[in-house]
Symmetry: C2
Subunit: 325 residues, 2 copies
Amino acid sequence: MADKLSYFSISSFEFLNGDKRDVKIAYKSINASSPKKALIPTCYGGRVDDTYTFHDTSSSALADYHVIVVAMLGNGESSSPSNTPDFTKSLDYQDQIRAQHALLQHLGVEKLDVVVGFSMGAQQAYYWAAMYPDFVKQCVCICGSAKTSFHNYAFLEGPLAALMQSSDYENGRYREHGKKPTRGIKAFGRAYTAWLYSADWFRQELWRSEKVSTIAQFMKVHEDMVGDWDAEDLIILGRQWQAGDVGKVGKGYEHVMREVISARMLVMPGSTDQYFRYEDSEMEVSLLQNAELATIPSVWGHAAGGGSHKPDAEWMDKRIKAWLK
Amino acid sequence: MADKLSYFSISSFEFLNGDKRDVKIAYKSINASSPKKALIPTCYGGRVDDTYTFHDTSSSALADYHVIVVAMLGNGESSSPSNTPDFTKSLDYQDQIRAQHALLQHLGVEKLDVVVGFSMGAQQAYYWAAMYPDFVKQCVCICGSAKTSFHNYAFLEGPLAALMQSSDYENGRYREHGKKPTRGIKAFGRAYTAWLYSADWFRQELWRSEKVSTIAQFMKVHEDMVGDWDAEDLIILGRQWQAGDVGKVGKGYEHVMREVISARMLVMPGSTDQYFRYEDSEMEVSLLQNAELATIPSVWGHAAGGGSHKPDAEWMDKRIKAWLK
């Protein structure tokens, strides 16, 4: 990427919960001179720089787009519990989208040709289409849903409970002692890992690598997966995720899906995703006015949509490129 | 059930890890005068009295069998960390089966017509067939596998980490302070819950009941699901489960499955079980000499095999009855 991380400040930003705070939004702007505008919000556990941009080569789907990668509030790059004293206690998808909208106005972007998002990024894409139907022409929703399913909610309770009940989280008082809840964050990672891939992926032993020859070693490596994340950031965004429902921006879920969202939508669930299930995406596509389903055929589970597994990333890139034409 | 809980003592029982201890095995013997003998070992989190026996009515599959329900070592009824000072530090499926074999000899049972097991009970049934091929004529393996899959291993790490890293588990020193690691056990329950059912089950909102109207309430009820279990009992049996592999009793997994197990086997995975996957059962049936697959068509996930959901229990009962004839 040619450009480096930038920050946009908003004074007295009003959160959905009523709090007002000065916030900064971290982002990266790539190929800014292009008239075609794409926004990519980060996912849970994601930073701007490890977000897959579909922009790597001259034949990539977004190669000739102005791509703006934006960090969610709470991700540790934008304003977050971890970097802001007295940060607000809850975040809502609506906060993210309104802050991103302000950023785009600041950048002089008047319309988005496409919002591309993975996981919580896909949920943000749905919210974009619901909150600013005239601003967003198209959305690509990868391994995400317009409404967080009850199963998805229940799964998230596991890692969050492991963190919040851990011996060094200390009911949130760990900061007073000037230390990180390392055991809690490792337990979070351990409780998340089996969900991230698929049963097929484990059966095919794709967890093996040069450094990992036993499943116990694999778990050890993965408990550090979120090691650089802050406990409060994980919690505030986990709660945002659990409460996700585009219906809240209008007259309920079905109404918003059928009547409010008018953007052209490409919905890309993973065929073996254990928590953003393809069945939910099929149902959501059936509600939308102008949506196409493109299920990623992969044993990589939820991780298929993240871009780190090259064949899946290439499959998505081709599919998105063809759809955008 | 007509008979009450009984105990069988074994002096200086030698565990696979080399330890020797006096142990007692808790069991219940039902309809003892019948010449047809059925053994039902408990599952993880299971007690003798809440084990489904296929014996409730005169038309039940095991109605005319002598049914022996036996508590696993470590379940809190048989000798366990929770009820035995200086209990051994690890358990193996082979320990369970050898102890149960001793119990059956004591009861004068010379052959088992059938071993019926659910979950870890199914794993015990496989071990029975592998360790005492001349003693066991038939096995019914419900929602279980002869070898614990890597995915299954990884999922178990979540609840176990939530418990073992919890603030009141205190690295196992909680006993010294005379209290239970309540928060840890609740976190265990919370990290287990989404795995127990299926995404379809959550989508159909089958978690709703008279007492539960929100998913948050449901999680709260379920965090107490294992509330009467002891932390060390959960851990020692969780580790036994993770290490399950019938191959260890002979020359490796494939050899034992193909050459050693000769019993007639009915393998009953749940169609939506998230951790004992039907795909694994299909593979295992293909290895066995004399096995039949009967996948339980249910959205109840792993819980379909436990007997608490009546339509699934009736489906299994009919299927087992027909197969036993």
